[in-house]
Symmetry: C2
Subunit: 230 residues, 2 copies
């Protein structure tokens, strides 16, 4: 069986777990703490980023967008109307733009700060950067998240799904990021009703169940985290 | 004719210019200063990142890796042995991993600091963040570049081209980043002979000529910048 090196609070890892589930592909999940710089993990992925997918031939595919392209090429083309990357090049470009938006731009502006300061620093030894959250980083992330939520609300208000009229990788990239932030209670859903409706639809998918069952030691999720009606 | 919104010192923009040239695709180059947040540019790409490719039907494709996938789908498939993304999924994954390495990881660790502090801050008004370079950011980038050069030297010492035995997007992504840094004299070639040999091969390609002819106002390139024998 293939292996997915992941972390439960990594948005990019959640995205790939969702895609694997949607395509009914099994993989053994191995939790990795990339800041530990484990030599066997660095040998798989010198960039030390998550997730990493290792197939039955033991070849590694590194990084969420690279794994998503690989899965589309190897398995997606047989999925017909359940394929998560459309056929037409401009529509593919729009899916990729938004996948990158939530996994790269939102990660840089928001997610990495909140997850690092509030989760990873609790798990890291002090010499690797562990300790109390940096309040300036938290303030920056919380200011930036409002802009991202407004954009998500605009997208979900003007289209059936994030990248157009069919569900795509973009929806699962956004659900990966939003679900990590929602665990931490960082998403103010009341101001963005379209985004909330879209997330409610995403939450009701069977692929979200394992994500909504994730629990991190020492951090309890916000009370509505796993509620389908929130 | 299509339009490419770019900046001459943006590594990602240089990558796409190289790919367009290699595929004999013409595009009008329009220089964009993304920190100016020009409304017409934000309407094309709300992420305000470079480059952006706008085709004859006026549809925009945003960001270097998304443009590269689009170009491969629309034009690359007809290029046979000159195609810059191979056919086999694992080989494609390796090309994409390294393209991302030089355009995302090296950008975050090295290029954005050096280009921002040494070039963009000279061009920016003070109220947008312009002014003297931040010496701490420069120190961080200069420490990080050594690790990236060692990795490039290892790759070029163990393979014909960065991602295997044929030239690929990975080579042009690295050439885009390295040429920006070399303009600024930030690359210590003497310690990495394999990387130097590879860059000499890249520099001799016709697609590199417009890049080596780039000049930024107020900043003269290092003396060997355009020398094929350096």
């Amino acid at each position: 069986m293939p292996t997915l090196y992941h972390h439960p609070m990594s948005a990019a890892s959640r995205f790939v777990r969702l895609v694997l589930y949607e395509y009914e592909l099994e993989a053994e999940l191995v939790e990795e703490r990339p800041w530990e710089q484990r030599p066997d993990f660095l040998a798989l992925n010198p960039a030390a980023t998550l997730p990493v997918y290792v197939d039955d031939s033991l070849q590694a595919v590194c990084g969420a967008t690279v794994i998503a392209e690989f899965i589309d090429e190897v398995f997606g083309v047989f999925k017909r109307d359940r394929r998560l990357l459309p056929d037409e090049p401009f529509r593919r470009a729009e899916v990729r733009r938004l996948t990158e938006w939530f996994l790269v731009k939102m990660e840089q502006d928001v997610t990495r700060y909140l997850v690092r300061e509030r989760v990873f620093k609790l798990l890291m030894p002090k010499e690797n950067g562990g300790g109390a959250p940096d309040s300036k980083a938290l303030r920056t992330a919380r200011a930036n998240i409002r802009q991202h939520m407004r954009y998500l609300d605009w997208l979900t208000g003007s289209r059936d799904w994030l990248a157009g009229n069919t569900m795509s990788y973009a929806d699962f990239a956004a659900a990966g990021a939003l679900s990590s932030l929602d665990y931490l209670g960082e998403v103010g859903w009341s101001e963005t009703p379209n985004a909330r409706d879209w997330y409610q639809r995403m939450k009701s998918r069977p692929s979200m169940r394992p994500i909504l069952a994730d629990r991190i030691s020492r951090i309890t999720p916000v009370s509505h985290y796993a509620d389908l009606d929130f």
